[in-house]
Symmetry: C2
Subunit: 281 residues, 2 copies
C-alpha cells in the first residue's frame, strides 16, 4: 500500500476496532504512535501508548510529530465531551469555539472540525478501512449460514429506513420486522437499540428458534467516511440474536467488520446472517 504517507499516529477510542488497526499497521511497520484516549481506550491493549485526554489537542500534535507521524487515523468509540466541563490545553482552547459551533449542527460537523484541525497541522487523515482491507464489508454474504430469502423484504426496508434517518443526520441504524419499523437508532447506540427490541412484545418480533427481522447499519450519506463508519463485531451479532433477529445488513464498502472469521463463527453459532448490500441495489 502506498497512499503518500509513511508513519501513522493512531488516535484510539473504545472498542475492538483500534486494536485491529494498530495490529494491521504495526505488521506493515508503519505504526508510529498510539494515542490512547483517556476514558475510552484501554492502554493495556497497546504497546507503549501515550495516554491523553480529548482536550489535549496540542499535546497530541506534538506527540505525533515527535514520533515522526505524517498521517493519523481515528478509530474506536468516543462519546461527545461535556464542553461545559472540558479541560483543553492551549491549542485545544483555540479550537473550542469552532467545536462548540459545530456541535449543535450534529456529529458530522463536529468530526469535520477535528479532521480539519489535524490536516491544518500537516497530517493526512486516513480511514481505518484503508489500513486493513479485511475490515471493510464486502458485497453478499459476510457471515452465518442462515437462509436469507424469506428476509429479503426486511433487508431492503431496513436499509432504506437506515438511509432515511441518515439523510436527516439522526442516526445510522434501524430494525425492521415483517415490514414494521421496530426501532430507530439515535444517540443511544446500536447495543441499546437491540436491547430495546428484545423487550418489545414477542408478537411483533422474532424469538430464539423463530428469528424474524433485520438490523441495518449504514453511514449517513453526507458523513465524513474517514471517521465513524458503522461497525459490526461479535457483540453486535450476539445482541442481534438475543433480540430475535434473523440477520444484519450493512452497506458494502461502507461498514467495518471487526474480525471477519469471528463474526462469521458467531453468526453461524447463533443461526443468523450478516450480509453486505451494494448501495442502490
Amino acid at each position: 500500500m502506498s497512499e503518500g504517507w509513511t508513519r501513522l499516529g493512531l488516535i484510539a477510542g473504545g472498542g475492538a476496532l483500534p486494536r485491529l488497526v494498530a495490529e494491521a499497521c504495526a505488521a506493515e511497520g508503519r505504526l508510529g504512535s498510539v494515542i490512547a484516549l483517556s476514558g475510552f481506550a484501554d492502554p493495556a491493549d497497546y504497546d507503549q501508548p501515550t495516554v491523553r485526554t480529548i482536550g489535549q489537542f496540542g499535546h497530541v500534535i506534538r506527540d505525533l510529530k515527535a514520533a515522526g507521524c505524517d498521517a493519523v487515523c481515528f478509530a474506536g468509540i468516543v462519546t461527545r465531551p461535556d464542553f461545559r466541563s472540558f479541560v483543553p490545553d492551549l491549542e485545544g482552547a483555540k479550537l473550542l469555539p469552532r467545536l462548540l459551533a459545530a456541535a449543535v449542527r450534529g456529529d458530522d460537523a463536529l468530526l469535520r472540525v477535528v479532521i480539519d484541525a489535524f490536516e491544518s497541522q500537516g497530517f493526512q487523515v486516513v480511514g481505518a478501512d484503508t489500513l486493513s482491507s479485511s475490515l471493510l464489508a464486502t458485497e453478499g454474504r459476510i457471515g452465518g449460514d442462515a437462509v436469507m430469502e424469506p428476509h429479503q423484504g426486511d433487508i431492503a426496508k431496513a436499509m432504506q429506513i437506515a438511509a432515511a434517518i441518515g439523510v436527516i443526520d439522526a442516526g445510522q441504524g434501524a430494525v425492521v420486522c415483517d415490514g414494521l419499523v421496530l426501532a430507530l437508532e439515535a444517540q443511544e447506540g446500536t447495543d441499546a437499540m437491540l436491547r430495546r427490541v428484545a423487550e418489545l412484545p414477542e408478537n411483533i418480533r422474532g424469538i430464539k428458534g423463530s428469528p424474524r427481522g433485520v438490523l441495518a447499519k449504514r453511514p449517513k450519506p453526507q458523513q465524513e467516511r474517514r471517521i465513524d463508519l458503522p461497525v459490526v463485531g461479535v457483540a453486535t451479532v450476539e445482541r442481534a440474536a438475543a433480540a430475535g433477529l434473523a440477520g444484519i445488513a450493512v452497506e458494502a464498502g461502507a461498514a467495518l467488520i471487526l474480525g471477519r472469521e469471528a463474526v462469521d463463527e458467531a453468526a453461524r453459532r447463533h443461526g443468523i446472517f450478516v450480509i453486505g448490500i451494494k448501495p442502490g441495489s
Copy 2:
C-alpha cells in the same frame, strides 16, 4: 354538534383518553355503548361496558347495532395482536386475510382495514377530537409558564425530525437537544423513548434545574387521523421533565391533550412548557 350521527359506540383501549371521550359523549346524551377491549381497557372506568377481545369483530358489530349506535370512535392504546395466536369470531376470521396483508405495510394500513370494516357495516367512524373540542391541541402555549425563547431552535428541529420519521411511516416522536437528535420513536412508544433519554450521558441532555431539549410528537403525514393521533397527558409531562427536557411540542390541530388543566398544572409544577405549533410555521 351535528355530524350526521346520533349514538356513538366507543371502542376503548388503554390509557386515559377513552374515559375522557366517554364522559364528553355521555354529557351530550349521545353515548350508546362502550366496548372495553380485553387486555387494554379497564372495564371499571366505564358505566356498563361490554368486554370483548379484539378478535370479536362480529360480536362488537352486533353489540353496537343492538345499542342503536350509528357511529364508532376508536380511542386509547391498543398494541398489535399476535396474528399467529389470534382467536377471531366468524366475522373476525373473514377479516383476517386483509389484516395480515395490511400488517406488513405498517400500522396505518392496518388501521385503515379496521375502519373500512366498520364503515362497510354502516357505521360512521369519528375521531376522538370531534367528540370533545377541548381535547385538540391549539396553537401557541398549551401548558406551563417556562420560558420558550431559548428553545425555539430545538422546537423547530424536533418538529422537523418527527415529520421526517413520519414520512417513512416509522414513528411519531423525536427528541432534539441543542440541535442534536437524541432519540427517535418507533414501536417502543413515547414513554420508553423518554426513559432512554433520561439514561443518556448528562453532557448531551438537560438535567433537573437546567432543562434542555424538546420532545416533538406529530402524526405521520399520510396517516388516518381518526385513529392514533399523538397524545400528551400528565404522564408525558412528568416523563419529559424526568428526562431533563425543557418542553414538549405538538402539531396544533393534530394532537390530543388529555386534560388541558391537568397538563398545564403538571407543566408548571415541573417547569417545562407544552406548545402547539401550526404545521408549516
